[in-house]
Assembly symmetry: C2
Homo-oligomer: 424 residues x 2
C-alpha cells in the first residue's frame, strides 16, 4: 500500500488523479471478476451487488446437474444440507466471527426476529429495546412485531441522534439493536465503544451489518458483540434477495433458543421426532429448508473473498469515497447540494450521500438515464455506494462529472424524471 | 377420459396393462416438459420435484441479463417486486384460493408461524392448538416455538389417530392445524368435513398443503379454510428449497396482522417510514426481501400448470397409485411388506408407502442403487411419490419389479446399504 499512501488524499481531484489512483490500486484486478455492463457506472452495490462472473456457470450447473440429474440425492452428494454452515464459515472471516458462529438462511428481517427474541430471553426482567429513529425501518418493524407478540410491555426506545444513544441506554435496557452503517447517510457507529457501553448497562448488543459486511471489516468477536445479522445481496454480491446471515456469540449459543424453531434447527432434523430439541451451537438459529439456488449464488460470490486483504478493502473504500466527495464538491460548486455523510472517513461506511432538497428524486432519475446508477432515499437523499472490489476512482470521477453536468444544465427538470415510480 | 375409464382398475397388473394405461394417459405429453435422467425411475417428487425444462434457461437469463446487465433496475423492469403476488396467483388456481389470497416467500415453517400467530390473535380467549402426533414434525415444532414465545399457556393438543380428531376439538380450541396429506403414509384428511367441524367448535382451520398442491386439487375457498401454507419444491417443482406459499382467507385479511412484520409487508415499503403500517390484504403476510433466483425457478415451473385439467391430475394420481399397490402386492407376495397408505384412493394423496420392519432403510438404499428413487422415513416406512405430470404406469410397474427382485434376492442385505447416512 506504500505507493497509494504517497498519493495521499487528493487535494485537486481530476481525471489524472483518478487514473493514477486506479493504476496504484492493489485491488484493481478484482474488478475483472465481476460483470460490469458497458456504459454503466454502478454505484448501487449497497442495494444489489454486481454479478460475480463465477455465479452464472455455478448456478447453471446446479440446476442442470445437481437438481436435474442427481435430484434428491444432491442433498447429500452436493452437500446442500451443509450450505447454511458452509456459507456462514466464509462470512465469519469478513466480520470477525469465531468458527461456527454464523449460519446463512432466511432474510435479514427473519434473522433479526430470531436474535432479538433470543436476546430478550436472556434479559427477562428488562423491557426496553434501544435503537435509533434513523435505523433501517424494517429493523424497527421487526422489533414492534415481536414486542406486540410477546405482549409483556417490551417497547422500543429510539434515540433521535447517534449522540443521544449513550444517554438512552440504562439499566432498563434489555437490548441495544443498531445498524452499524446507516443506510441513508453511511454514518458508522463505533462498534467496540457502543458494545462496551451496552454491556456496562447490563444490556446485550445486536448489530445489523447489512451495509458493513464486504465493505467495512469488523471484529464481532473482539468487540464482544452478542448477536448480529447481515445481508447477502449488498456488498457480498450474493444476488437479488440472497439469504441473510445470523451471528450468535459462542458465549450464548448453548444458553439460548429462538422461537422460529423449524426442523433445520432441530438436533436431529431427519429423525422426524414430534418434540423440538434444539441443535447444538449456532445451528439452532436455522428454521426451514433454505432456498438452495439463492444460497449457491451467494456461496459462489463469496469465493472472491478467499484471499483478500480486508485492510486493503477498507483503505480503498475510505480513499474512494474521499475522492468522490472532493470531486463532487469541486465540480458542483454553487449548487444546493450538501454532504449528508460524515466527512471523516473513519466515521463513514462505503457510501456517500448528498442531500438535495426538492430535486433529489428527479436528479437520481436523470443520473440513471445517463448510466450512473445510485439510488434515492426519501425525502431528499441521493446515495452512491462504492463497492471496493469493482468500483474505481475513474468511475467516481466520471460520476461526479455527470452529476455536475445534470445540475448545470438542469437536465433533472424533465417531466419524465419526475413521473417514474421508485421501488428500491 | 373415457378411454381410461374403460380400462378401469387393473385386476391383473402387468407390463401390458402399464403400456395400455400409459398410451391412454391424457397427461402423457407433460412428461416431455421435465428433465428425467436416463435409467432413473423417480418416485421422490414429493420430496424434490423434477426439473422442468423451462427452468434452466429462465434462471440463466435472470442471472446474466436481469441481475448481471440490468442490475438494481430489475426490481422494476423485470418486476421482481411483484414476484410474491405473481407466483401466488398461479398457485391460487391449484388450491382453490380466491384472487389475491396467496403470496409466496419464506419457508413453509416461517409461513406457518405467521398464520398460526394470526389465528391465535383471532381467538384470544382460547389456548389450545389441535394437531396430530403424526403431523410433519416441523409444524409441531413451530407451534411449540410460538406458544413458548407468547408465554400465555397456549399448548398443543395432539390426536393420536385421525379418528380421534373429532373428539379433541372443543370450545377451548383456538386453532386446528393439520397437514392435508400425511408425509409418511399419504393418508388424506377430508378438508371440508374437518374445517366444518372446526368452525362448529368456534375454532379456526390452518391447512398445510405441502403434499397436496400440485398433486391433489383442493378448494380452500369453497371449504371455508381460514389459513393455509404449502411447499414450492415438491409437486410444484420449484427447485431445492423453493420458497413456500401462504394463504389467508379474504374474510380475515383485513382483520388480522402477523408478527413477522418486515418491510415487504408494509403498506409503503419504499417510503422508509419508522412505524409499521400493514399492507392491505394478503401482502401483509410478507416479511423480508424474497430470494429472487429461487422465486423465479418456482415461477417458471408453475407455467406448466396453466392449462392443465386438475381433475385429470387427480384421476391419474389415484389410478397410478392403485396400479403401483396392485403391482407390488402381486409381485412381492410372501414378503413382510405391509401397505401403510390407505387402500381407498379417495383417502390417499399421490404417494404410496409400505412398512418394512427392520429392512426399510437398507431396502431403500438398494432400490436407489438400482435407479428407483423413493425415500425412507423412520422407523420403517419406504415412500414412493407419484407426481402425475411426469410419472407413468410403466415406471410404476418397473419399480415394483425391481422391488420384488431386491426382496427375492435379499440384495438389501449388503453392508454398504446399511452404512449410508440418510439426509432427507
Amino acid at each position: 500500500l506504500r505507493t497509494v499512501d504517497k498519493i495521499a488524499a487528493p487535494i485537486s481531484p481530476s481525471a489524472d488523479t483518478a487514473r493514477a489512483l486506479d493504476a496504484a490500486d492493489p485491488l484493481r484486478a478484482y474488478r475483472e471478476r465481476f460483470v460490469l455492463p458497458e456504459g454503466i457506472i454502478y454505484l448501487d452495490g449497497n442495494s444489489l451487488g454486481a454479478l460475480p462472473r463465477v455465479v452464472a456457470e455455478r448456478i447453471d450447473a446446479c440446476v442442470r446437474q445437481a437438481w436435474g440429474r442427481d435430484l434428491i440425492t444432491s442433498w447429500n452428494k452436493a452437500r446442500w444440507v451443509d450450505l447454511p454452515q458452509r456459507i456462514g464459515a466464509r462470512i465469519e472471516r469478513l466480520v470477525g466471527g469465531e468458527p461456527r458462529s454464523i449460519v446463512v438462511g432466511d432474510s435479514t428481517s427473519i434473522n433479526l426476529f430470531k436474535v432479538l427474541a433470543a436476546a430478550l430471553r436472556l434479559r427477562p426482567d428488562r423491557k426496553i429495546i434501544v435503537s435509533e429513529r434513523q435505523n433501517f425501518p424494517t429493523d424497527l418493524y421487526i422489533a414492534e412485531g415481536l414486542a406486540a407478540l410477546i405482549g409483556k410491555g417490551h417497547r422500543l426506545r429510539l434515540a433521535d441522534t447517534s449522540d443521544e444513544l449513550a444517554s438512552v441506554i440504562d439499566t432498563d435496557t434489555a437490548v441495544v439493536m443498531l445498524t452499524h452503517v446507516n443506510y441513508r447517510t453511511g454514518a458508522m457507529h463505533d462498534m467496540a465503544e457502543l458494545t462496551t457501553l451496552c454491556h456496562e448497562a447490563g444490556a446485550l448488543a445486536i448489530w445489523d451489518l447489512a451495509h458493513t459486511a464486504g465493505a467495512v471489516p469488523v471484529e464481532l468477536s473482539a468487540t464482544g458483540a452478542d448477536f448480529a445479522v447481515g445481508c447477502g445481496y449488498k456488498y457480498l454480491n450474493g444476488g437479488p434477495g440472497a439469504p441473510a446471515f445470523v451471528y450468535v456469540s459462542p458465549k450464548w449459543q448453548a444458553k439460548v433458543t429462538q422461537p422460529l424453531s423449524g426442523w433445520f434447527g432441530h438436533v436431529r432434523p431427519f429423525a422426524f421426532e414430534p418434540g423440538f430439541v434444539p441443535a447444538q451451537g449456532i445451528d439452532r438459529f436455522l428454521c426451514g429448508t433454505p432456498p438452495v439456488l439463492s444460497m449457491l449464488a451467494l456461496e459462489a460470490a463469496l469465493e472472491i473473498w478467499e484471499d483478500i486483504d480486508l485492510a486493503a478493502v477498507r483503505e480503498k473504500s475510505k480513499r474512494l469515497t474521499d475522492f468522490f466527495i472532493a470531486a463532487v464538491e469541486h465540480l458542483c460548486t454553487g449548487h444546493d447540494l450538501a454532504l449528508a455523510s460524515p466527512r471523516d472517513p473513519e466515521a463513514r461506511g462505503s457510501q456517500v450521500s448528498f442531500s438535495l432538497p426538492e430535486i433529489g428524486y428527479p436528479l437520481m432519475q436523470a443520473l440513471i438515464d445517463r448510466g450512473v446508477i445510485g439510488d434515492f432515499r426519501a425525502p431528499d437523499i441521493v446515495r452512491f455506494g462504492f463497492a471496493p472490489l469493482y468500483v474505481g476512482y475513474m468511475d467516481a470521477w466520471q460520476a461526479a462529472e455527470i452529476l455536475a453536468e445534470i445540475l448545470n444544465t438542469r437536465e433533472w427538470d424533465k417531466p419524465e424524471f419526475k413521473r417514474r415510480a421508485a421501488v428500491t
